[in-house]
């Protein structure tokens, strides 16, 4: 099994923030200098540890936003009442050091070795691991066709919009659906992802696609269930859920 190729023990390494970039009013991408990093696969995640002066520590997991071979980056959404995400999105600046350990997770990964058409369905910051996958596909010249269906509250909340628009074409179809607010003249889709939208946007089950779904629990439940309803075998629908705790 591909996932068994795991290196030895994962150890905490000191990472230096080398660049920070605001993606939306509440979302920030942070790039790190991490000399000890042994590389990662598209779709994996890492652990972050922050330490206060009195020794108190807080740890969280984040999906890796950069492609294999690129400097390690994470994209963090600030959560209300959060502890780690407000620090990372508001306080941290280039030159600051935090601790990172990873990469972890060998299931929600895409190596481009599977020739089947790829369906990516993202809700909100669930887009993050897909940036890694799409950049990896672009950089390696893999020609496997991809459809990305990305649900966001409003156009302003779309993370990586310029980059996704740029990646669109050349075998990548990007479809946005805006759930709460659409700008005047919006010609994209509106409303939550449902069975009807999936039927129109997703690859037909007969094309034997493989699907990756990432977002908040209710979103993932609806989308994964919808895909199974369209005839996707459950084993071909990989899910990653987060948020909903309001605590990260």
């Amino acid at each position: 099994m591909a996932g068994t190729a795991v290196r030895g023990r994962l150890t905490w390494e000191t990472a230096t923030a080398s660049a920070v970039r605001d993606e939306t009013p509440t979302v920030r991408t942070i790039e790190f200098e991490l000399p000890g990093w042994g590389g990662h696969r598209a779709g994996q995640h890492l652990d972050v540890r922050l330490t206060a002066e009195d020794g108190y520590t807080a740890e969280r997991e984040y999906s890796i936003a950069s492609a294999p071979g690129e400097p390690v980056a994470i994209t963090v959404e600030r959560l209300k009442d959060g502890e780690v995400s407000p620090y990372l999105t508001e306080e941290l600046r280039a030159g600051d050091e935090i601790e990172i350990r990873g990469p972890a997770g060998g299931y929600f990964v895409w190596d481009g070795q599977d020739p089947r058409p790829l369906l990516l369905v993202a809700g909100g910051s669930g887009i993050v691991p897909f940036r890694s996958i799409l950049r990896y596909r672009e950089q390696t010249g893999i020609e496997i066709p991809v459809r990305l269906l990305y649900s966001a509250r409003s156009l302003e909340d779309v993370i990586y919009r310029a980059e996704l628009d740029q990646l669109s074409g050349g075998g990548v179809e990007v479809v946005y659906t805006l759930t709460r607010q659409q700008p005047p003249g919006w010609t994209g889709r509106s409303g939550r992802v449902n069975a009807g939208m999936l039927m129109e946007v997703a690859w037909a089950a007969g094309q034997q696609p493989v699907a990756y779904v990432c977002g908040p629990t209710a979103f993932v439940e609806a989308v994964a269930g919808g895909l199974v309803g369209l005839g996707y075998p459950a084993q071909q629908v990989k899910t990653e859920r987060f948020g909903g705790t309001g605590e990260s």
């Binding site: 620090y87 629990t217 705790t245």
Partner: protein, 202 residues
């Protein structure tokens, strides 16, 4: 000793009722987050069984009704997910795994729990016996919701919660430890939250 993170003060400190109950690297949540690798299966109760398998054969099996007629208990425990949330004083309605295994003759040393959807996870027999593990079908007095593993899930609260297999349909009794689903993807074979055994090698 971890280096101090400039400008990080932390908001959360252990509350009085949490003292000694939150393993390292965890934080307490009041919610009940959901994590799983694929779509939620929905097995009708009249098709549900819980099986004990040995050497490829099913040596014992209970229907839903048979399982529900076994003595059940109310269990209040703290649970710890490897993704770092812990939830204290969760209340379950459950049948002890001891109750199930005493009806089976075996010399097993390990078990591999198997679930609808193909999920598996491995545990030492010693960790699912002796009043440490349950087949849980109720949460907070209600039937266990599908996204939380209903109709029934394993409940092994002293290990990280991925060991508490959702949608569980049985146990395979083994002589040798055999990696389950997450264990083949780099997670720890045992998963003790107090020793922070998250990944292989921890």
């Amino acid at each position: 000793m971890s280096p101090v993170t400039r400008g990080f003060h932390g908001r959360r400190r252990e509350a009085a009722g949490e003292r000694g109950r939150v393993p390292p690297g965890q934080f307490v949540t009041q919610d009940f987050p959901v994590l799983s690798a694929g779509p939620t299966p929905h097995t009708p109760l009249d098709q549900w069984t819980f099986s004990i398998r040995q050497g490829g054969d099913t040596t014992m099996s209970w229907t839903w009704q048979e399982m529900r007629e076994l003595p059940a208990e109310d269990v209040t425990v703290d649970i710890h997910c490897v993704t770092r949330w812990s939830k204290l004083d969760t209340r379950w309605q459950a049948v002890s795994i001891d109750t199930l295994l005493t009806q089976v003759e075996h010399q097993a040393r390990y078990v591999l729990a198997f679930s609808d959807g193909g999920y598996t996870t491995n545990l030492p027999l010693a960790d699912v016996t002796g009043g440490q593990a349950w087949l849980a079908f109720g949460f907070d007095g209600q039937p266990l919701a599908p996204e939380h593993g209903g109709p029934a899930r394993l409940l092994v609260p002293h290990l990280y919660f991925w060991k508490s297999a959702k949608w569980v349909r049985g146990l395979e009794l083994l002589q040798e430890d055999e990696a389950g689903f997450w264990e083949t993807y780099g997670y720890n074979m045992y998963g003790d939250p107090w020793r922070e055994q998250r990944y292989a090698g921890d």
